[in-house]
Symmetry: D2
Subunit: 150 residues, 4 copies
């Protein structure tokens, strides 16, 4: 049986992923929450606050990038073996619409999983009521490090 991207994960993996996310001081400081943990797919939500803005009152690209990076990193991490940790090697993001809304939602999705490197697609949506607007799209390369878990 081969798991697909988006399948349910075991409680053990869900817990491991959420526990690691909870250790990211920046996510708490921004007010971000992990809203979905699936196999190779993680969503993070960031509600609007004035503390997150750039000079025109939109979400700053740094906040957009922060949740995109964590979403992709944890999407990869759901596929990693026990006793390993995840590091971002590089990422890139195109900011395609003004980042505004009640909240941003970042979705990280694994598109290639290897023993050493994993590649994720990153997408961020600005959500206002029922309307979702695509605000950023990117890609990310992650490395699996054997050893300290997290």
């Amino acid at each position: 049986m081969h798991m697909q991207i988006g399948d349910d994960v075991s409680p053990k993996i869900a817990t491991r992923t959420r526990d690691s996310f909870a250790k990211q001081g920046l996510m708490a400081h921004l007010g971000a929450e992990m809203t979905e943990v699936r196999n190779g797919l993680v969503s993070i939500r960031l509600p609007f606050r004035p503390e997150l803005t750039q000079q025109h009152g939109y979400f700053h690209a740094g906040g957009t990038s922060a949740i995109a990076d964590s979403a992709g990193g944890y999407a990869a991490f759901t596929l990693f073996p026990e006793e390993s940790s995840v590091l971002t090697v590089e990422f890139k993001v195109n900011l395609i619409n003004p980042a505004q809304g009640d909240y941003l939602e970042a979705i990280g999705r694994v598109i290639k999983h290897g023993r050493t490197l994993t590649i994720c697609k990153l997408d961020v949506w600005g959500v206002t009521g029922e309307v979702r607007k695509h605000v950023a799209t990117g890609m990310q390369t992650l490395i699996c490090i054997q050893g300290p878990t997290g």
Copy 2:
């Protein structure tokens, strides 16, 4: 006379740049400060706080990216005409060493300035006492929008 990258800027441009930076809610929330405003070159410093970490206690790549994005954006902005504003089109960053230190310093430097698009090099250093370690390097594409200043 043609100004070079790194030359002094006029008080007017320095003020315009610092005023816009001061409107970025995220920079204040992270604790970042603009330490240098030169012609096509801006530095931003981010002192370490537990509120900025990822799961292993290093600076989260989101914070690294946030100050790199602002540094590059304002480096470009120093070259823009009055009554214009700057938006990031895209950026990419390679995380080449663990982001740690007393503070991070991001330097944005214009490498190509055009009427519509400006390209910046982004570098981030982790500084501990006298030791500076290169933690991230990237590139950024910015667009000059005529109209609302900022």
Copy 3:
């Protein structure tokens, strides 16, 4: 009526696109052909030849990138006004599997079309008989220049 990405294009736009492609000396030199021209979506095929390899006998990333860049550029160009031309501002590509097969197929697809800038997703597949393997994925920023057509 609003056209969607992937819709048929007018004969005029198809001709304009194919004529410009035919002027790219590199595409002919590599042996690439434009296989599909749709609204905001272009495919280019590159049959395998020893003249296209890297040191292990796979397609060189330069060939992969060349057809990806042209596919995205012409996908954008299908949406551009008359008397305009297209230039690539930047692109990035992750090479996710060895680039091998009877031929490569690059697909450029517009994900955001603006008056000045257009953003494309780039994907390249290695095709062997009925089997298609995803070999590269990327993103591209293009600019619309008023004036000399092409």
Copy 4:
């Protein structure tokens, strides 16, 4: 004694690098030649030919990218152990000026060398007589694979 980027390499490493380059069918097909092999730094030259153009008669970004990718890949390879090979994980390039001149010169330079991953800076110059113009700048992530040499 620690070797610096740009130092001379041993004849053995120079030969290994040039031998691998000579196996790249694409480089010969484009007419590219390796002009410099130093420690973590490789230059490749691509003389202008109509077979290398895009629709306006400049060098096609695919050619620019091809020599940039090879320059960075071999720059990394000079630092790799015996019995290993190099693969490009990803690269990104900003095209900052029209790619024209008697020839292009791509320079790949290692900015971070690790056991598994190496990061290079990529720069391409258009050279006309004594004039050198910066036409592209980028970054590249490479992986060292133990086993088949090349």
